[in-house]
Symmetry: C2
Subunit: 192 residues, 2 copies
DNA sequence: TTTAAGTTAGTGAATATTCACTATATTTGC
DNA sequence: GCAAATATAGTGAATATTCACTAACTTAAA
């Protein structure tokens, strides 16, 4: 369990990553924004790596929670995929700060423990989609002339790419609108 | 035109980014690996940003060259897409160092001039695919029940994702093999 | 003789982290 | 019930290290 201060630290960290980039997430910057001294940070986290790890942990929890919600949905597999798709886009659209963190993989690559966490989160998300697709192929909802792994890769890849582009282009266009168009296309692709 | 030394500097830089991550691309590190002193670097590039810009410029040229090659191909649009797809995977597979650079967008985000270059490269690549798809839709090679932009997004997104995963997972599995499977899937998706 | 390309030896600023110390609660022993 | 002991959360100052970059000098070639 996280203390109030720990929550504050990781929330501020996410905010800094989003608005100023992960490069500017320094202990100095962080402490200043919270309004405490630099050493005070170390009363709550052992190291900067620990802070980043807590951020990733936080994402994992949100992710797992969402998967649980999807599992409880009654209905078609396509409906489930559509739900999770739009949910993710909704989250990113409302809290763009999360995007920067998710796409900071390249920076996390240095720290082995962080990189492993990233891979873990990504793999689990992909496997979840894979399982849905296998289910859909079994009950003939989804085409089975293409391997389930390939289909999952296409779905997740498209999702990542649309979010990434939106982020890079300063969030100019309407992500939710474009997301809807994409999911409609993906539905056609999966079923025909 | 780049001098020999300038070429050496950007090649070493790419190598460092690939093997040690962009964080470790420092002037000190770079000069040591080349075997000259730190200030000597500044005889060839005005700043570190200039070095990174030259790297991106280099990528852009390779990219444009490839697009030119594709344009000269006689044959179906699907064949062209397949060619460019396998070519990209081949390049990344042979020179994994390039992947890290391409995916370092998040780090380039800080420097405005670098970010703009990245967006420029990404946009042009996507537009190239979009044009191919439009052409394919016109001559009934490619399905037209889905918008060309959406189809391009799916193709590029899938390509990016497969490469990214391969990179994150320490290049364990066979990228070329998996790439072939993906392109076969994409061909089915585009045509049916 | 000029100039390009190198050198040594520095710069200030930034980095994560540690130090010794303090004010304020909270818990414990009598 | 209350003093003593301890825990919590903070402080300013300092640590070693790294960063991009610069000033001034040297060398070698055209």
């Amino acid at each position: 369990m996280l203390t109030e201060r720990q929550e504050e630290i990781i929330n501020k960290s996410i905010e800094i990553i989003a608005t100023q980039g992960i490069q500017r997430l320094t202990i100095k910057n962080l402490s200043k924004e919270i309004g405490i001294s630099e050493p005070a940070i170390y009363r709550h986290f052992e190291s900067k790596t620990d802070i980043l790890l807590a951020i990733l942990q936080n994402f994992q929890e949100v992710s797992l929670y969402m998967e649980k919600a999807v599992r409880d949905i009654k209905g078609s597999v396509i409906g489930k995929i559509e739900f999770i798709f739009s949910k993710i886009i909704e989250i990113f659209s409302q809290e763009p700060s999360h995007i920067s963190v998710i796409f900071s993989e390249e920076i996390f690559k240095n720290e082995v423990v962080l990189k492993e966490k990233i891979v873990e989160i990504m793999s689990s998300k992909q496997q979840f989609i894979e399982n849905l697709i296998v289910e859909g192929q079994r009950n003939s909802e989804i085409r089975d002339d293409i391997d389930y792994k390939t289909l999952a890769l296409i779905v997740v890849g498209a999702l990542r790419f649309i979010v990434k582009q939106w982020d890079l282009k300063n969030q100019h266009n309407n992500l939710i609108e474009e997301g809807k168009e994409l999911i409609e296309g993906l539905k056609l692709i999966l079923t025909t």
